[in-house]
Amino acid sequence: MQFSIITSSLLHVGFIIFTILGLPIFNNPNVDIPPIIQVEILEITEQTNVPEISKREVEEKKIEEKKKDNVKINQPIMKPKIEKSDEKVKDPAPEEEIIKPETIAEKNIVNMPIRKPVLKKKDNFDELKIAELIDMAQDTKPIEDAKDEEYESLDSTETLSDKLTLSEEDAIRSQFLRCWSVPLGIKYDDSMVVKVKITLKQDGSLMKPPEVTDHQRMNKPSEKYFKVLAESALRAVRRCDPIKAPAADRYDKWKDMQLSFDPRELLR
C-alpha cells in the first residue's frame, strides 16, 4: 500500500517536472511590453474636408493591390468602370465580352434595372470574390438577367418604366396642340383647367368616348366658360382621333391617359 502511494507520488512529481520543462507555454520569456501611448480620438470630419473614400474606390484599390501582389490569375479582370462604352469598343476581345454596347442598345433602357456599382467592403481580400468577378466579366447575358446580390436595384426603377419617355410624351402633346382650337373669348381664372380621360386602342384610336373628369362642373349654369373650354378639349381629342401611337409593345403604359388642357398662357 505504502509502495503504491510512494510510486504514484513519484510518477506525478516526475510528470509535473516533465511538463514544466518540456512544454513551451511554461517557458515564459521576458517580453518588452511597449509603453502605453495616449491617443486622443477626434472626429475626422471636424478636422478636415477631405472627402470620404467611397466604398467603390476602396474596393478598386484592393483589386489593384492584389494584382500587384502577383495573384496568378490567367483571366482578365473586369474593370469596375463600365460606363465608357467607346473605350470598350476599341479594347481587345476580352473587354468587349464584358458588356457589348449593341446588347445595351437592343434593350429598352427604361426597362433596364439600374445597378449601383457598389461592391461589398470586406476586411480581407477574398480570392473567391475575384473569381466571381471574373465569371461575371465573361458572362455575356444582358445585365438585367444578372442577379448578383452585390448589385442593388434602385427603388424608382418600377416608376420609371410606368411612364412614357419625354420624347413619347412630346410626340403625343404636339398632336393635341395642333388639334385644340382654344376658345379665346372665355374669361380666364386659375381653375380653368380641363382634364380629359381617354382610353386608346393599340392603333391609337379612341376605344371609348373621351370623358371630362369634372363633368358635373360642365352642367352648372354658372360655369359656362368651363363648359365651353371642356367642349373645346373634347373636340380636340376627337379631332386628333386616331393619334400616332407610341410603341405597341408598351401599350399597357399608354392605353389610359389623362390630358390636362390648360389655356393659362393663351388667355391670361
Binding site: 382650337s181 379665346l184 373634347l234 373636340r235 390648360d262
Partner: protein, 441 residues
C-alpha cells in the same frame, strides 16, 4: 402582425402601379379661328319667291358677323359636300368633318300666319356629333337682318361662353367738311354698318354721345346759349331736353349702369369737377372737390365705383373712387398721360387712351392699375367704348393734315382684347366718338 403590415404595404404598391395614369399637359393650342360651316337656310318650294333672297342674305349676315369678330372662320359654301335639306334634321357629320368644319349651322325658314317669318336654326358640334343649340324665332319678313344678328349671337355665345354683341348698334358723330369748319351730326347704325341714319342735321356741334344701358335713350354734348350742355334724346320718340341749367359748362356725360343717373363734369371758374345727377329728381351731387381738372367719369358695372381722369398730380392720370366720391386713388403708373377711362362691362378692366412719346395708344389695365396692355398705337386715336360683352373696343382714329391742308380723316375702328383683329368700321362720312349700345331687347 408585422406580416400583415407588409402585405398591406405591398398591396398598396400594386394598386398604385395598376392605376398609374400617364398625364400630359396641353398648355398651348391653335389660335386660328374656329372653322364653322354656315349653310343657307332651307324653305318650302311654295315660299321660294319670298324666301329665296332672305335665305341667302341671312346666312351671309351670320357668316359676316362671326368672321368679323375674329374667333370664327366661315367655310366657303362651294366646299360643302352635303347640300340636301336632310342635314337640318341629322347632318352627315363625316362630310362636314372632311371639310374641317368643327361647328355647323343649319336652318329652315317658313312663312306662317300673316306672312310672318318663322326662323328655325340648329347649331351642331360635328366632332361630338350632336346638336348643341336650337332656337325658333318669329318676326316680320323685313326684320330678317336682326334675326341674323340674333342667330350669330347665339352661335357666338354657345361656342365662346361669352354673350354676343352682334345685335347691337353704334352711336357716333358723323363728320364732314374742312377741318376748321367741320359739320358734326349725331348718327346711329347697326354694329356692322347697316341701317345707318343721321339723328341731327348738323346745325349744332355735337360731341360724346353715349347710350343709356337700359333704354332707347342717349345723352350727348351740344351747345345751348353758346355753352356746351348735356342733352338727353329719346331715339324712339325724338324728344330732346337739356340736362339741368348750370351756371358753367357741362360735358363728358355718361349714364350709370341702371340708367337712372348721369355722371358728368361741370366746369365753374376754371375748375372742373365730377357731378352726378339723379334723372328722376334732377338732384345733383358733387363727387370731387379738387382744384385740378377732374373729368371723363365712368361707372363700374355694379355701380359701386367710378373711374375718372385728373391732372391733380401734375399730369393727366386715371383715378378710381367710390360712387360717393370717397377713397380717391390713382391707378395709372406707367408714365405718359392717360385720358377717357371706361370701365369694362365685365368689370375686370378699364380701357383708356394714352399719350406717350408722341403717339396715342388705346389700352387696358386691371381696375387696380396693374397689367397695363396697349392694344393699338397710332398718330392720333382716342375714345374707346366697350362692346356689351367686354371683348371688343371701338374707338376713332385721325390722320394728319398735309401741307396743302388735305388728308385729314377721322374713322371708326374696332379691336378685340387680344390686340389682334383690328378692323375699320365703314361709315358714309368720317366718324368720331363711337359708343356701343347694349344688346337690343
Amino acid at each position: 402582425m408585422r406580416i400583415v403590415k407588409y402585405l398591406i404595404v405591398i398591396s398598396l404598391l400594386f394598386i398604385n402601379s395598376a392605376f398609374a395614369l400617364i398625364e400630359i399637359d396641353i398648355t398651348e393650342g391653335n389660335r386660328e379661328p374656329l372653322p364653322v360651316a354656315i349653310t343657307s337656310f332651307f324653305y318650302d318650294e311654295v315660299d321660294s319667291i319670298k324666301l329665296n333672297e332672305i335665305s341667302k342674305n341671312l346666312s351671309e349676315v351670320v357668316s359676316a358677323d362671326l368672321e368679323r369678330c375674329g374667333l370664327f372662320a366661315a367655310i366657303d359654301k362651294d366646299a360643302f359636300i352635303q347640300k340636301n335639306p336632310a342635314m337640318h334634321l341629322r347632318p352627315r357629320f363625316e362630310d362636314w368633318r372632311l371639310i374641317k368644319a368643327q361647328a355647323l349651322v343649319t336652318g329652315r325658314l317658313k312663312l306662317v300666319d300673316d306672312d310672318k317669318l318663322r326662323v328655325e336654326f340648329r347649331l351642331w358640334d360635328t366632332l361630338a356629333e350632336k346638336e348643341i343649340e336650337a332656337l325658333v324665332l318669329i318676326t316680320t319678313t323685313d326684320n330678317w337682318r336682326r334675326i341674323s344678328h340674333m342667330i350669330a349671337d347665339k352661335v357666338y355665345e354657345r361656342l365662346t361662353g361669352e354673350g354676343g354683341y352682334f345685335d347691337t348698334r353704334i352711336l357716333y358723330v358723323a363728320e364732314s367738311g374742312p377741318k376748321n369748319k367741320r359739320i358734326k351730326k349725331l348718327s346711329i347704325m347697326d354694329q356692322d354698318g347697316a341701317n345707318h341714319r343721321f339723328l341731327t342735321s348738323g346745325k349744332e356741334l355735337v360731341l360724346t354721345p353715349r347710350f343709356n344701358p337700359v333704354k332707347q335713350e342717349i345723352t350727348y354734348l351740344s351747345y345751348f346759349k353758346n355753352l356746351p350742355r348735356v342733352y338727353l334724346l329719346n331715339i324712339e320718340t325724338g324728344n330732346q331736353e337739356v340736362v339741368g341749367d348750370f351756371p358753367g359748362m357741362t360735358f363728358a356725360p355718361r349714364f350709370s349702369p341702371d340708367g337712372s343717373k348721369i355722371i358728368m363734369s361741370l366746369a365753374k371758374d376754371g375748375n372742373s369737377d365730377i357731378y352726378v345727377m339723379e334723372l328722376k329728381s334732377r338732384v345733383v351731387t358733387r363727387l370731387t372737390t379738387n382744384s385740378a381738372i377732374d373729368t371723363s367719369p365712368s361707372y363700374s358695372p355694379d355701380g359701386k365705383k367710378i373711374t375718372f381722369n385728373s391732372d391733380r398730380g401734375g399730369s393727366q392720370q386715371i383715378y378710381v373712387m367710390d360712387n360717393d366720391g370717397r377713397n380717391q386713388k390713382r391707378i395709372s403708373s406707367e408714365g405718359g398721360n392717360y385720358a377717357t377711362p371706361v370701365w369694362s362691362p365685365r368689370g375686370d378692366l378699364i380701357a383708356f387712351t394714352k399719350n406717350f412719346k408722341g403717339s396715342y395708344a388705346i389700352g387696358v389695365m386691371r381696375t387696380n392699375g396693374e397689367g397695363e396692355r396697349l392694344l393699338t398705337e397710332n398718330w392720333y386715336q382716342e375714345a374707346p367704348s366697350w362692346s356689351p360683352n367686354g371683348r371688343v373696343l371701338t374707338f376713332y382714329r385721325e390722320t394728319p393734315t398735309n401741307e396743302a391742308g388735305q388728308g385729314h380723316s377721322s374713322t371708326l375702328w374696332s379691336i378685340d382684347l387680344t390686340g389682334f383683329n383690328e378692323r375699320k368700321i365703314d361709315t358714309p362720312e368720317d366718324g368720331s366718338d363711337p359708343s356701343w349700345s347694349n344688346l337690343m331687347q
